[in-house]
Homo-oligomer: 160 residues x 2
């Protein structure tokens, strides 16, 4: 899967620009990242991985930020660290977000493969393997179920 | 309330040292921060505020980290940024965590007051006012209810 690489402190306004928030998620997604990488929204493909630096997803808590990335088919996020609110929203939407201290070793366009359970990231372009922090099992269950709402629905069905 | 100030990338092992995790939360809390500030656990008082730098709560997802701070009576956390997993756990436990870009202006021992709704932080020692990012209303409801579990219980009672 192709790696789309962004820098430190990338904020939610870059991911989901404020002036499109009044439109539906398809329209927001079409403008995702347009101020930092105008080719992103039209070129990203299903399964691709977004790579960030420190404090990825800083700024406002708008849920459309992870939602736009999911809508575009992004399969996972990898960053040195994530802003708390963004991380919460991403996981709640079922979009896996992995902390990877060596994320900066990944270059734009690298062909990478990620196992969110073990945290193992294989870079096929460079032949390198990076160790990301695996998603804790209690959150992985939520991601597997497709996010918080379907996860709770499933649990409530099971217990009732 | 007294400010207890810590640096960048303070990890969950500093907050809740691994070798005490097999004991109850009272014992874990008694050793909180002992490797960075041995006076913290015995001197912190109900209502005090913990102040961090960048990526506060990095490292493992252990829920005992925010739980220990809550157990010690810490009323809120303020930091330049929070690690995603730690932030999630803190909010789920009903412990307010506020992003404050100017957190480094607060000195250890300053007498500070924080309004988590508006994000206004008043430093009575220096006379300064800092603007933190308010906790979004949907999360503040969860914090007010005492955390995720009581919040869900309340909502389920209301809707059933």
């Amino acid at each position: 899967m192709r790696a789309w690489v962004f820098g430190d402190n990338l904020d939610t306004d870059a991911i989901a620009p404020g002036r499109y928030l009044k439109f539906d998620i398809g329209e927001v997604a079409r403008h995702s990242m347009e101020n930092v990488d105008p080719s992103f929204a039209s070129s990203v493909r299903k399964g691709d991985i977004v790579v960030g630096g420190r404090n990825f997803g800083a700024g406002s808590s708008r849920e459309q930020a992870p939602e736009a990335l999911k809508h575009l088919g992004v399969s996972a996020l990898v960053a040195e660290s994530f802003a708390g609110l963004f991380y919460r929203n991403a996981i709640n939407l079922g979009l896996p977000a992995l902390v990877c201290p060596q994320a900066k070793r990944i270059r734009a366009g690298d062909d990478i493969e990620l196992d969110p359970i073990t945290g193992r990231l294989t870079n096929r372009t460079t032949g390198e393997t990076l160790a990301c922090e695996p998603i804790p099992e209690f959150l992985m269950q939520l991601v597997r179920d497709g996010g918080l709402v379907p996860h709770l629905e499933k649990r409530l069905r099971t217990t009732s």
